[in-house]
């Protein structure tokens, strides 16, 4: 099933979810590691280059994902009223935080009118400097938002495990497989 139903996610949503999850966590790890690299490390210039390249490709993926998700049904949320509300808020926040990372990251590297080159493939131009101390403020936002995102993503993962192991419901399973839909019907 390509599309979502009220019972389960379609495989496209599932692929979008896990691919972006892996990339976001990988980007956090890469970012965390690269800022402390020694000047003479062979990765000193390559690591930020990959971080920026992958990050900007992720923007494209997330925009497609968002468009797709908005065109799709959401599987009926499981759990108590407040859990459903909290989950909705958390999902919205996850999107907002990821997009804040895109914007702040872009603002660091383009504050001096330089564009960002994506895998030596093409260059995304700079929109210029929007405010004073842009690279410093954007850098701080980028760092703290990344921590908050990792915290919220952990909570999101724990909540899924709680649904799976404590409530024994389908919340996690339906983000892993599309077969569940048939079994339930």
């Amino acid at each position: 099933m390509l599309k979502n139903s009220t019972l389960s996610y379609g495989w496209l949503s599932i692929v979008f979810h896990w691919v972006s999850a892996i990339i976001v966590i990988g980007m956090f790890a890469l970012g965390w590691w690269m800022v402390d690299l020694n000047y003479y490390s062979p990765w000193y210039t390559d690591a930020p280059h990959y971080h920026k390249s992958v990050g900007l490709l992720l923007v494209a993926l997330m925009l497609v994902r968002l468009t797709w998700n908005l065109s799709q049904k959401r599987p009926t949320p499981l759990g108590t009223k407040w859990e459903i509300k909290a989950a909705k808020l958390a999902h919205l926040l996850l999107y907002l935080l990821v997009f804040s990372l895109f914007i702040s990251g872009y603002l660091i590297s383009t504050a001096d009118e330089r564009g960002i080159t994506i895998f030596n493939w093409f260059t995304l131009g700079s929109l210029g400097r929007f405010f004073a101390e842009q690279e410093d403020i954007a850098g701080m936002v980028h760092e703290y938002v990344a921590y908050v995102l990792m915290g919220l993503a952990s909570l999101h993962g724990l909540a899924a495990l709680k649904h799976h192991f404590i409530n024994n419901d389908n919340t996690l399973v339906r983000m892993l497989t599309i077969k569940q839909q048939k079994e339930q019907q």
Binding site: P48, S109, E135, D136
Partner: protein, 189 residues
Amino acid sequence: MRKSLLAFGLLALLSSNAFAANYVVDTSGAHASINFKIQHLGYSWITGRFNTFDGKFSYDPAKPEAATINVNIDTQSVDSNHAERDKHLRSEDFLYVKKYPNAKFVSTKVESLGGERLKIFGDFSLHGITKPIIIMAEKIGEGKDPWGGYRAGFSGTTRIAMADYGIMTNLGPASTHVELMLNLEGVQQ
């Protein structure tokens, strides 16, 4: 009596003016700059500057060794024409501008080397550490400007070791020192 007092007063004023004139560095008109350069890997020089600073000096061409100067630098204003690098320069790895927002130079002694050349001794504070340094300076010129003021301008260079100021980030053996180049034009007050 009153007239002669006035004349005496005027004379005193004039002579004290001619003695050691006070100048304020013309940062508002940007006729001054504080530049630095450091080697990159030993293969080239990269240059940068501090965009925000202020300074004052007193100078009498007849008595150059009585000159004094002090300069304050806003470290946040470091500019090497590369946002990512400037962000790094402001971080804990280098200038740590959040903790040390100011650098300053205060002269303690000036030696005349003849001609227009001066050797300026003083204390330079950077990254929370103050050390004596020597700036080799030269007066470029002085005189009236076309707008009714009087100006004097100097150029000076010095060289500091980053490690002397507790900046321990290793940029390689060719990049342990930073050269500072100051161009300061003052407007007489």
